[in-house]
Amino acid sequence: MSTPDLLYSEAEDDLRAAVRSLLTDRCPPATVLSQAESGRAHDVALWGALGADMGTAGLLVPDKLGGQGATAREAAVVMEELGRAVAPVPYLTSAVLAASALLGCDTDQEPVARLLGALAEGRTVGALALPLSTVAGVPGTPAATVRADGDGTLSGQVSGVAGAAGADVLLVPATGADGYGLYAVETAETSVTVEPLTSLDLTRPLAAVTLTGAPARRLAGPDRAATAIGRALLTGAGLLASEQLGVAEWCLTETVRHTRERHQFGRPIGSFQALKHRMAALWLELVSARATARYAADALATDSPDTPVAVAVAQAHCAEVAVRAAEECVQLHGGIGMTWEHPAHLYLKRAKSDEIALGTPGRHRQALAGLVDLAAPTG
């Protein structure tokens, strides 16, 4: 194993600066909140500026397929910034999960290449039709709840799909006479219903997808579908760690800012040691969370054989750090932390949902047990 590069390159710093400045302008907390309450699946204008105009939608897609030809390292930087802003855009669901699944299919096939190019451009939005809670990194394919019929249509239901509501195309794992496969379905078809669910995370809403004889195009058969989906979930989980890092970072920064300004008992509350130690402890966790998230991104980027371990460690660690940071943020803000007006709740909801997304910390630790030979007791 070569030494991983855990720092940020200059190009990555530039990318971060560009994304952050766009989000600062276009995605302040008040905008996030009004978007979430509007009933729209995501902020279409913001996604146009970020995904299409700035080109982030195509970071993971090679140049020759119409993307930016970057790697998971750059995508991770974008995820950090999106987490810091709890931005309501389909980056994880379309540019990461759907695009990675397509990259695992045979990109020499015209339908795969065309769809990938469209996603990379950011004008078409895709979603992988699996519950957001699907565990990444464990052997075996997520069981398909959709049936592929002989006439080229799909029927069945998938619940809890993130990004489905705003998507143009769904990538659906389904089982038919030919076995397991990955299929593309246009959401515009009348045989496709996408019903928004009331979600804990207002900024990344879930939907239930129902297909009743929906026309579908098969993108990968049993030979490739499972590995493509597995790789997509692993990439998603690895990059989600960077989003969690961004969420945690915002929470700590805001908490420090608030406790320096808020006075009680004639002192800034941030001068009380009981609070200082809690914030210092959080900072410590952020230091190691950043290292694990960077390692996961680097492992994905270099296709390291250690990627499953790197992702499991990053997910198990960063998920908990983000939740703790958001919970501390609410608590140390006192009463205003409990209000709808203060953005803290948006971060808590995102952090808690992210903890379950693509596998809970417990599931990732369980995956580690197999990966690093620390078997559970028998019996």
Binding site: G270, K276, H277, M279, A280, A369, V372, A375, P377
Partner: protein, 401 residues
């Protein structure tokens, strides 16, 4: 110090060439280890970022890894860094930063080769976390200082040739401003070292009584009254030294427990499995954070993560060693050896689980307690307001005690 830039830039290839020359002239197989270490120092391959003539070549710090790898591969002897940790980690950077040329020439070579062991005479019975409250006095007498006082918890004092010492030279100044920094010869009359038995049964640290010890003014480091500032250099390096070693995956304490887990399936329980996986994951996270810190240092972006590593190391060691004793069950009820030993080096892995459990309790106390380090992170890194203080501007002699 020879100014950087005076020498042609030394790169990795040049270092490899110099290592080869060293190995040719002093084949490790036929050279006395001490002779080899001296030759290595003189070749500038001890700590390559130090100045030429003082064991280094003014090379970038990150290139040390190149030298170490080549020498390890060639089977060259190592200066035992566990035995000389205080010298390497704390005394050396302070001497380099504040010493005179004469002090550097005399002290650094035997320090690095391990011929002369160092200890740190900082803590006192009345001054631990509040180190600047120290009461050991140094009074000027001609060309000498006469030192009286008591130090405590002094690791390695029983084998040390030299000590870094802080003492009060002006009680009329506020506590941080009346301190000076000295190099104390541990063989001088008036220095008495008494073993202090520890929780583990052994005596790794000591009480040190200083009675009329005469230290020549030429062994002062930094200006009179500036000792606190000099001590900051020592303390900062101490934290980095404690948390900063490079380890492979499972390289620390977690590896010992993981091996026991693999080899002894009959000991496994579900509760311990959950805790083990969590600690494995946290150890790996801490290891990666340490690696990231080193990469930042190598490109010249030192972060405040040094204190972070020390804190993580302490917490993990304590949790892992606690789990290890539990895992061993019946065997965990036993202990390897309570005889009063006076070890020359801190050996975490050579002894058994009970020892590790007890010794790890010191990890959150030695080198600054975890509470004090959290204060430092909160104030210096996060910029949180200090707690109100009443002792800052009063002369030391008027402080309530």
């Amino acid at each position: 110090m020879s100014a950087a830039g005076q020498h042609p830039a030394v790169d990795a290839d040049e270092l490899r060439r110099r290592v080869r020359d060293l190995l040719d002239a002093h084949p490790p197989a036929t050279t006395e280890p001490l002779d080899f270490l001296r030759a290595r120092f003189d070749a500038g391959l001890a700590w390559v970022h130090y100045p030429a003539g003082l064991g280094g070549l003014d090379a970038p710090r990150s290139l040390q890894a190149v030298v170490d790898a080549e020498l390890t591969a060639a089977g060259a002897p190592d200066n035992d860094p566990r035995r000389i940790g205080i010298g390497l980690g704390m005394a050396a950077p302070t001497i380099l930063g504040f010493g005179t040329d004469e002090q550097r020439q005399r002290l650094l070579r035997p320090l690095w080769t391990g011929e002369e062991v160092w200890c740190q005479l900082f803590s006192e019975p009345g001054a631990g976390s509040d180190l600047a409250a120290l009461a050991t006095r140094a009074v000027r007498d001609g060309e000498d200082w006469v030192v009286d006082g008591q130090k405590v918890w002094t690791s390695s004092a029983h084998i040390a040739r030299w000590a870094i010492l802080i003492a009060r030279t002006d009680p009329d100044q506020p506590k941080h401003r009346g301190i000076s920094y000295f190099i104390c010869d541990m063989t001088d009359p008036g220095v008495e070292v008494r073993p202090l038995r520890q929780i583990t049964g052994e005596a790794e640290f000591n009480e040190v009584f200083l009675t009329g010890v005469r230290i020549p003014d030429s062994r002062r480091l930094g200006e009179i009254g500036e000792g606190w500032r000099v001590a900051q250099t020592t303390l900062m390096n101490e934290r980095v030294a404690i948390g900063g070693g490079r380890v492979p995956r499972e390289g620390g304490m977690i590896g010992l427990v993981a091996d026991t887990w693999r080899e002894r399936p009959e000991l496994r329980t579900h509760d311990l499995h959950q805790r083990l996986l969590r600690l494995w994951m946290e150890s790996e996270a801490a290891r990666l954070a340490g690696e990231r810190l080193r990469q930042q240092l190598a490109v010249g972006q030192p972060g405040p993560e040094g204190s972070a590593m020390k804190l993580a190391f302490a917490r993990l060691n304590q949790h892992i060693s606690a789990l290890e004793v539990e895992l061993l069950g019946e065997e965990g009820l036993r202990y390897d050896d309570w005889t009063l030993r006076r070890p020359e080096l801190v050996d975490f892995t050579g002894r058994e689980a009970g020892y590790r459990y007890l010794r790890a309790k010191g990890n959150s106390i030695e080198g600054g307690t975890s509470e004090v380090l959290l204060n430092i992170i909160a104030e210096r890194v996060l910029g949180l307001p200090p707690e109100p203080r009443t002792d800052k501007d009063l002369p030391w002699k008027d402080l309530p005690r």
